[in-house]
Amino acid sequence: MYNILDIMFFILYYMSRETNKDNNEKTERRRIMTTTFVIGVIAGLITVAVIYKLAAKFTGAGAFCKDNFDERQLLVRGNAYRYAFYTLLILMTVWMILGEVISTLPVTTGLALFIIMLISIDVYAVYSIKNDAYFGVKYDKRRYFIFFLVIIAMNLIGGIANIMGNEITAPFSLMECANIAVAAAFLPLLVLMGISAFNDREESDDEES
């Protein structure tokens, strides 16, 4: 009699067989896309560095300056980092075990690690937002809301364009799915920020009345 682990193994094995199809075509396509991808990543990193420097100049403090947060927020953020780290460890372990059990997974290592990273960041951000510690004392939440909205919109547009322009089949790679993954990671944060802002306003109104 098969136990649950055996059944899971067969399901995963079947999935891995399916993903071997058309791998050669994908390899060639990826080789062409790699140069563009690397240039895009470098350009993105330079843009982030420039934006960070400009923000630091105009606000008088870096975005990660600990003085922007009060003592309770620093405590909450410490816990949030802890939970994010545990999440990272657990998901990396799961990925490691899957990698040992299955020869070909439906996602590439790059994409899997990227998703694990995004989930860990989400854990950190969700915990911080829920406990009112994501934004510093003098942060403008509306600007962040708009900023997140722009990030989601840009990544969604990029992701959809990528899907429509190329035939995407398993194993899914980082180059093909990075935009969609980023949009999916930011979406719950945006919703939570909206709910948090609404609750905050209600709480302020209650306190004043």
């Binding site: 309770r72 004392v137 302020s204």
Partner: protein, 64 residues
């Protein structure tokens, strides 16, 4: 345990949570958490709050 002494002292000064928070350089949620008893502030923050509200540490934070 709720800190009603802090809440009444703040109300006596006619300050909102937001105003008090700005005066002691913390977030409004932190003042709210202290009043609700969800967060125990450090001695530095206690002193800052006492100075703003013209109260002693005993008057605001000592529990019988």
């Amino acid at each position: 345990m709720k800190n009603l002494k802090l809440k009444s002292a703040r109300a006596a000064k006619d300050l909102s949570q937001q105003q008090l928070a700005e005066m002691v350089n913390v977030s409004r949620q932190t003042i709210n958490a202290i009043e609700k008893g969800d967060y125990n502030p450090t001695i530095n923050l206690c002193i800052a709050i006492c100075r703003v509200l013209d109260k002693t540490l005993d008057e605001l934070f000592w529990t019988e």
